[in-house]
Symmetry: C2
């Protein structure tokens, strides 16, 4: 109802017969307003259907109650989980989320960050493959910022990351403990930080525990199809292997399907392991062994750090949080060993 564009504070003030200052004070519940005056203002608010203009408000208050979130192009699961984690914490503090769209290119990243100025109180950024120096140029040092999955050492910014190296190391260790002699790794995209760390973890574990200097590594790009491709290479190339460790679950899924087509049994002929624990993992048949990453915690932890900064604390790289993934043993590696640890099982 009412006019074309919305009522402003001035309109309310006029309607209530008071000044804008008084109207503002009444609306914001500041003490120094008489009861009848406040009532008059409130009546005008109701009548005109007034809603404060958050844009204008944040200009003077120098506070937007919004945090900017800049993520790269993410595969569904990961994206939604991280946002969910952020939102969970943000919501409790009445914060809104402004999603910047940086689709790949470095240039767009800069633009996305610039567009945030004056619209957010803080920033959550996940710079996929950006040099720290460049990042420094883009970021406003006065704007509280937390990095996701990225250690920008020299910048001294707080960050939250997953211990990919450790996770890959432990998974490889587990495969070897299961009796695998020839473990093959399917790597992720070359430029990708997570992928590289996982590969290093694998290589190191193979060297230190398995005593293998140059383990076999097949290329991949985190996609299901690239996992299938690796499987074909494996089978046709006669590459000897009794276990495959894919850098993520997605590829493991493609791998398993392709192995099945080639007549190989999992885990009979070959064991398979992934990384991430996507929801699909437990539903596969056999179910997929993997390293569980609580992606949502990545987001919620980062958001909590940012909130602390907004409250005035000064956080730096020293406050970084490293999340350790958890080993989940399922069917593709032969199932959990009943070594008397876990209780509650049927005799």
């Amino acid at each position: 109802m009412g006019g074309h564009s919305m009522a402003t504070l001035r309109d309310v003030a006029r309607e209530a017969g008071v000044s804008v200052a008084t109207a503002s004070r009444a609306i914001n519940g500041l003490g120094n307003v008489t009861a009848p005056t406040r009532a008059a203002v409130m009546a005008a608010v109701k009548k005109l259907n007034f809603v404060p203009h958050s844009g204008a408000r944040s200009l003077t208050r120098r506070k937007t109650d919004t945090v900017g979130v800049i993520l790269p192009d993410l595969f569904g699961e990961f994206f939604s989980e991280i946002i969910r984690g952020i939102d969970l914490v943000a919501h409790e503090s009445g914060m809104h989320l402004l999603l910047g769209n940086m689709h790949g290119s470095t240039h767009e990243t800069a633009a996305a960050i610039a567009a945030m100025r004056g619209r957010v109180d803080g920033l959550l950024v996940m710079p996929p493959d950006l040099k720290p120096e460049l990042l420094a140029d883009y970021l406003d040092p006065a704007l509280p910022t937390v990095l996701l999955n990225y250690d920008a050492g020299p910048l001294d910014l707080p960050f939250v990351a997953v211990d990919n190296y450790q996770g890959a190391y432990r998974m490889t260790e587990a495969l070897l403990a299961r009796g695998a002699k020839q473990v093959v790794h399917i790597a992720g995209p070359k430029h990708n930080r997570d992928a590289r760390d996982r590969q290093r973890g694998f290589t190191d574990a193979m060297a230190k525990i398995g005593g293998v200097r140059t383990p076999a590594i097949l290329p991949g790009d985190f996609s299901e199809e690239s996992g299938a491709q690796a499987a074909r290479l494996l089978v046709q190339g006669q590459l000897p292997a009794d276990a495959v460790f894919a850098a993520n679950d997605q590829m493991a899924v493609g791998l398993i399907a392709a192995l099945a087509e080639a007549g190989k049994s999992v885990p009979g002929d070959i064991m398979v392991a992934g990384f991430d624990d996507i929801p699909l993992a437990r539903h596969l048949n056999p179910s997929l062994s993997t390293m569980q990453v609580h992606i949502d915690r990545l987001g919620s932890t980062a958001m909590m750090m940012l909130l602390r900064m907004l409250r005035g604390e000064t956080l730096g790289a020293a406050n970084a949080t490293i999340l350790t993934p958890e080993l989940i043993v399922r069917g593709t590696t032969g199932g959990p060993i009943a070594d008397g640890v876990a209780g509650g099982g049927q005799p």
Copy 2:
């Protein structure tokens, strides 16, 4: 580098020795500025590391280049797909997304919408179970708004929805065509619009095609667990059934697992069908027959409509788009029938 808080246009103007107006024009590339003047301004911009304050800018321009997105608490897959769809289109037009957090409660919905005022140029709202009248109170009639999965008839707002009724009808039809005599439906949450429409589609199809007046319907809530529960009821209660149509895939997944535990074979003893086509569906063993809903298109279509409105077009309920889900026949209903229609098959 530089001072504590960022440089303003005034600072730039002073540094370049021109007025703010000229600085503004130079920065925005308006024609009426001499080359040397523009150069001087640009130099100052570089030197001071100036980035325009989007908040202030949008106040005068009356344009924020942002659309507000208000969604209920959504299960992961759905949420991320819808956002992805929206972002895809928004990004092309250089728009940003402001996520409002309305976690369930009606009161929060109102707050979320109100908080958007002055921060967005338009709104994309998915009101889960809100009465149209209430919605009318909350929404600003002057703000272009598109509804998701919601037909607010009397409000005359454009919306995008999935034809749940039609989809359920067609799926039921398909099950009957497969020879099922006793089809049981597992319903979704009572208050949920989609769930109700799907149930109606099922009931009508059973009546018109199957000649069954009161088909068996088991309660559910869209969760995996409720699907499993339904399976137990089915088996223990000796409810005669040769096919089950779950109102969504999630429940179908739980159902299948529980049926397997009970020693029932799918599709041998009993056929199973779902709705949504979540990524998991094709990976199950046997793979799940379902109605494919392109959730991302729900988002992208809505965003495209909103863009048209922002360009000045006037859209109403008459411009609604109804997305028709597609029947995907897979293993849980016995696999596609090779009835000579689809080409390209091996002889």
